[in-house]
Subunit: 430 residues, 2 copies
């Protein structure tokens, strides 16, 4: 297994086998541009790919110079997986501790000073301009847990659930990058069952632990994507917190689905982890007893075993990890979601995002939302925190921070997503 | 009432009181740019606003020259209503038969030849780049009619319906401008109630007659729009056909709402009609017995009385107008929809589109969808056509064209939308 001449960061999330893409700016140059994460550094791909040293020896990387100068990764995402693989190979070649091209970066003092920016000095931006955001409901245990809460165990799953990846269109304008804050939303809620609605700040604020899939190559209007070609349309993956106001959602969602209960904000992690990085972590999907339609039958495993966690932090306390689960708890893979989404010809564009839906395991401390962990607000979740600030919670309080993390690890190989962090602020005065 | 020195077109939709905005290209210049419709001509706003004659005498129009050179109206939409009003005043001033500035355009042979393009020579484009598309369900009789079909007259409307404008997020990537074709989508359907699902081209293809509202000035994340300020955020209106596959929709939509039953394509008319043009046609909204929450209470009438019609045309026959209704059949105005949409802080961006939902009157020939007109596919709709091609229909057949039209008319004043036209093609082979 190759190692880089750049030391790993403390967490070890960003090894030379990972190389996730993001968009950043810094004080020296406030123009957002594309970068790749390695250890505790962001490698400025605009500076690197346009350098004379790269122009001389690494044609794939150099050919993307104009794309990496953009303030979003959409152009690079659209370039397709062959380009992504070639650029990854070029990057690994110059970052390898045994590089055969030390003159490009390792021994190139000027370029290193310019292109290798300490992560503490950068401000991360949204990695892609998201045209359309679709949220699926592919987390089997989540769908089951929520179904039990609403309809009892007999009718927990709707009849269509195991036949197709249920999904709906979400709001792209309110997606923000990790680090942003959201205000507790006002909305119409029923203060008690059967009461008249009131207009109030949400009283049931929740997070949702999801994976986001970023589209690379598009499909044209009217042209479905074959499930076994769908991975060629994926640029990579991020962590996604689909903040939810459960009381707003409960009153509004019949018959057309969630709306204001979700569209006030979603948070994604800044680093797009590619399928090539996740390759060693393919796993069996959850068993589905239903005979699948042809267009959903996959020839290969395309669910990944990514360990996902949620921690919550009071204003002053230490974070408490309240849930740990895995992305293998999906009934549907992203290629299946893409095949279904495009079956009728819907065009997916570079930078579009598909959410997995909330990912939960079977146990209480493996659940991806407070709705499930507290069984609809009836059970306490303990925050152990520190400094005497332990408390029990049912839904989020003003000032709470929610941090999602994701990581794959096996036999010394580690691929991490970093974190997806957001803080809930008090509602506005009206 | 002022008249223009440019003669009205045959329909009279595009008078000097209308002046809707669009984006066009032509053989002489295939670069899409902004224009305004007057009679049978498109006035090239890029050429006009950047001309020396305008620079000398019309500062508002001239100040938008860079915006009108864009391939979308988003920049101009974002400029805000004061700018829109000033540009409208400048345009009316030079187009008026009694213009005090004949040297700018009427007597300026060179600029007239360049900027006044016969509509037969242009290709219309999507007027705006639509970031997010939200579809509401504000057509009261439609919601009632569909509710009766699914749940009977006792429970036709859901409990939330009269308390808030129910809406959901739609798909923006598949919105096309009038004149485009869509293929009949494949999807999962239940061939009969309770049967196992199959993958098939939809057998229940329908149109939906809607108004689309295009957002101008944005609101920031976390900042709601006051209902009585909401019109300041509207750039204008288009006709919208939200094509629907009823069988796909019926199987997929519980519990998260419509998805593949809608996202294969929507068609909008090319000309954005401004609120200033519609001003004389304000009318009383439908009565709502429910006590409204404060944030939905409007100080002025903001529903318009626009006569809307649907015609269908066989491959060879003449079009048959099958339905005529009015936009006054909305329970909620667009300002109310905007106030609700942003209540929790959701940001609306310039170019975003809000659909009204299907607009139907109370009578069979006033309904905005075949689902309603045929009572769920049980009654025939007659196409009288011509040349012996009369037929009865329940849902759309391959080759059928659907044309929506919209027009306001009173005391010699006419404001038209032109048409929103689309054709259904046969499904792809799989």
């Amino acid at each position: 297994m190759i190692e880089s001449w750049i030391p790993l960061d403390g967490d070890g999330d960003f090894s030379i086998q990972n190389l996730p893409y993001g968009v950043f700016s810094d004080a020296a140059d406030p123009t957002p541009r594309c970068g790749v994460r390695i250890g505790d550094f962001v490698l400025d791909l605009k500076a690197l790919s346009s350098s004379a040293a790269v122009a001389e020896s690494l044609s794939s990387l150099h050919s993307c110079a104009a794309l990496f100068a953009q303030p979003y990764l959409n152009g690079f995402a659209a370039a397709g997986r062959t380009v992504h693989r070639n650029v990854r190979r070029d990057l690994q070649r110059i970052l390898d501790a045994k590089t055969d091209l030390p003159q490009v970066l390792e021994k190139n003092e000027v370029l290193r000073q310019q292109a290798l920016v300490p992560v503490a000095k950068v401000v991360m931006q949204l990695p892609v301009q998201i045209g359309d955001y679709t949220d699926f409901y592919a987390g089997y245990h989540h769908a089951y847990n929520v179904g039990v809460l609403f309809r009892g165990p007999e009718n927990a799953l709707q009849p269509n659930y195991t036949h197709l990846p249920v999904g709906y269109h979400g709001r792209s304008s309110s997606i923000m990058v990790s680090g942003g804050s959201i205000k507790r939303p006002w909305g119409q809620i029923l203060p008690s069952p059967g009461a008249a609605p009131i207009t109030s700040p949400s009283r049931k604020m929740d997070f949702e632990l999801e994976l986001g899939c970023i589209i690379g190559s598009p499909n044209a209007l009217g042209e479905p994507v074959d499930v076994n070609r769908a991975e060629e349309h994926i640029f990579g993956y991020v962590l996604l917190n689909d903040w939810s106001a459960r009381d707003i959602q409960a009153w509004e969602y019949v018959p057309l689905g969630p709306f204001n209960g979700k569209n006030f904000g979603s948070t994604i992690s800044p680093w797009v982890v590619t399928t090539d990085a996740l390759e060693p972590f393919r796993t069996e999907p959850l068993a589905n007893e239903t005979a699948l339609q042809d267009y959903l039958q996959e020839a290969q495993k395309s669910v990944f075993d990514i360990t996902l966690s949620v921690s919550i932090q009071d204003d002053d306390a230490q974070p408490t990890t309240i849930s740990t689960t895995s992305s293998k708890n999906l009934l549907w893979s992203f290629p299946q979601m893409i095949a279904h989404h495009t079956l009728g010809g819907c065009p997916l564009q570079p930078g579009d995002m598909l959410g997995s839906g909330t990912i939960s395991g079977t146990e209480t401390d493996e659940r991806g939302s407070l709705l499930e962990m507290t069984e609809g607000g009836k059970q306490d979740v303990k925050l152990t925190g520190g400094g005497g600030t332990s408390r029990s919670m049912r839904f989020l309080q003003d000032g709470d921070s929610v941090t999602l993390m994701g990581r794959c690890e096996r036999e010394g190989l580690r691929i991490g997503f970093g974190c997806c962090h957001g803080r809930l602020l008090a509602a506005s005065e009206r």
